[in-house]
């Protein structure tokens, strides 16, 4: 294939050769900005971060939340779709049997290690129940210990519903817990527990 070479024309002429007129042109621009910001309206593009936040798009993938049904229970049916699809292997679910027979299964544990998460959004796409979403708008998570990034079910549970002041009961308070509390945590060596 023939390469096409585009030659940029050099601007020659008195103005360029003497440098000074061009320098004054530059000065005019910077001085204009300087005085506009000194006296007139300050059209500063900076966002003073902790005080002001940049609005994020509706589709921004932030921290996860687990959505709830109208009665306050999690929509999640512990189908393991998200855990399976997750490329970072950072979701860990343990299913439990719900006393209410119409519900069948629900997550006894639902842990996401947000430090391992790559925020790809595949879990959201995989979920058949729209139970997991990443639309919290929490952009920056900064905590001082790694442990804090292990988000458990109750932390992930959507509490952004302004009408819902009380946290819902799962009805599992008196059910026996699975023993493997420790092994339920995501493997810290980064090797997925297969």
């Amino acid at each position: 294939m023939e390469l096409k070479v585009k030659q940029v024309k050099r601007v020659d002429g008195v103005k360029e050769a003497f440098y000074i007129p061009a320098a004054f042109g530059g000065l005019r621009l910077t001085v204009k900005h300087f005085f506009r910001n000194l006296f007139g309206s300050r059209d500063v593009v900076t966002i003073n971060y902790p005080e002001e936040k940049r609005p994020v798009s509706m589709r921004w993938r932030g921290r996860h939340r687990l959505t709830r049904k109208d009665d306050g229970f999690l929509k999640c049916v512990a189908c393991y779709m998200c855990e399976t699809v997750c490329p970072a292997k950072c979701i860990h679910i343990e299913a439990g049997e719900h006393p209410d027979l119409s519900i069948e299964k629900y997550p006894v544990r639902f842990d996401i290690d947000e430090l391992r998460c790559v925020f790809c959004g595949l879990c959201v796409e995989a979920c058949p129940k729209e139970a997991i979403r990443m639309d919290t708008g929490v952009v920056a998570m900064a905590y001082s210990s790694r442990k804090t990034f292990d988000f458990t079910r109750d932390l992930l549970r959507d509490n952004y519903d302004p009408n819902q002041h009380e946290s819902p009961k799962y009805g599992d308070e008196d059910l026996p817990r699975p023993e493997s509390q420790e092994s339920a945590l995501p493997n810290s060596q980064g090797i997925p527990a297969s």
């Binding site: 320098a23 530059g26 910077t30 900005h33 500063v44 593009v45």
Partner: protein, 357 residues
């Protein structure tokens, strides 16, 4: 009371007081405030906010407290000496530039004399030749820092700095020849008083910028190159040699380099004011004959300060406008363009002075 007046009238005491006044209340504060102003003003030029976070309680002073924060920080930072550095030279190098910068202020009058008392540390006969001597000294700061810190980047920076400063010194002197010829003296007070004459009756003051427009431009360029600031900041060369000659420094010694740069900026501003903008003379003030002495002095200090601040601002504005010259461009600009121009200016001035004055 009498004793105090008597002590105050001793020339040595007066000189010491003036030195203290000029250093502590003029040169150093101006240099220090400029370090912050450069950041604030550059923020305005680029539509940013600039430093505004340092605070005491909730008071930030719109960024003013950053001065104190910076000072504290650099005092408490570790003063490192790189392995293989020449310890003694490494330690004294930062202060050459600083001392040279402050020494510039010694011959600058900031207001007209009242009786025997002059607002000037010393009015020596060589005058501006003293300035040339002192600015040559400041080359040592860069060279010593570059060679003694045992770092290749620093060495490159030091080499560039010495080559640049020595070349620009050549026509810095030549650019001022015109001024010497027009006012017939190298003594600063003669030059300043010479600028108090007027052309066409009382129409145009004989300021250096009007008698020597080309000289003004050349001298300003040379001085900016001497301070090693943009567009002549190849010795620092952030993009290729990191920070040039003071790359290895940390803590207060690094701050001394920065402060030296800003004191040099202030020094350039006072030199431009004194030599080209009538010094402390307020134009057309002599028309108001009944002006009280104290008011005249105040006006003179005010005019001097305003023009000085204007030139500080202009240098900062230039730095944030013009891109850096490549090192060979710096050199060819100096030797091939500015040197012939300043020679021509000198010759032309000589002819005009011979013919008309």
């Amino acid at each position: 009371m009498d004793l105090i007046l008597e002590i105050l009238s001793i020339p040595l005491v007066q000189s010491i007081l003036k030195i203290a006044f000029i250093i502590l209340l003029f040169a150093m504060p101006l240099g220090t405030v400029l370090t912050l102003m450069e950041r604030k003003w550059s923020a305005m030029i680029q539509d940013r906010v600039g430093p505004n976070r340092a605070n005491v309680g909730n008071y930030t002073g719109n960024g003013l407290l950053h001065l104190a924060a910076d000072g504290l920080k650099s005092i408490f930072k570790e003063d490192t000496i790189p392995q293989g550095a020449n310890g003694f030279l490494y330690l004294i190098a930062p202060f050459f530039g600083l001392i040279a910068g402050v020494a510039t202020f010694a011959i600058i009058p900031i207001a007209g004399p009242i009786g025997d008392f002059t607002f000037q540390v010393t009015d020596i006969e060589p005058g501006l030749l003293f300035i040339f001597a002192i600015t040559s000294l400041s080359v040592y700061g860069a060279v010593l820092a570059g060679t003694s810190s045992n770092s290749k980047f620093a060495l490159l920076g030091g080499t560039r700095a010495s080559a640049q400063m020595i070349s620009y010194e050549v026509f810095m002197g030549l650019a001022l020849m015109g001024i010497f010829m027009v006012y017939g003296s190298t003594r600063v007070s003669d030059i300043v008083n010479g600028q108090n004459e007027y052309w066409f009756g009382n129409l145009i003051p004989m300021w250096g910028v009007f008698t020597q427009p080309l000289g003004f431009f050349l001298f300003f360029t040379a001085l900016i190159a001497e301070t090693k600031r943009a567009p002549f900041d190849a010795p620092e060369g952030e993009s290729e040699i990191v920070a040039g000659y003071f790359l290895e420094y940390s803590g207060m010694r690094w701050s001394a380099f920065m402060l030296a740069e800003y004191v040099a900026v202030a020094g350039v501003a006072v030199l431009m004011t004194t030599l080209f903008f009538g010094g402390y003379h307020v134009p057309w003030l002599h028309l108001w004959e009944s002006a009280p002495q104290w008011l005249v002095t105040l006006l003179q200090i005010g005019k001097f300060s305003i023009v000085t601040i204007f030139f500080c601002w202009l240098q900062i504005q230039l730095r944030w406008t013009l891109p850096k010259f490549r090192f060979d461009q710096t050199m060819s600009l100096g030797w091939k363009k500015l040197l012939p121009l300043s020679l021509a200016n000198t010759a032309l001035t000589a002819v005009v002075v011979l013919a008309f004055m």
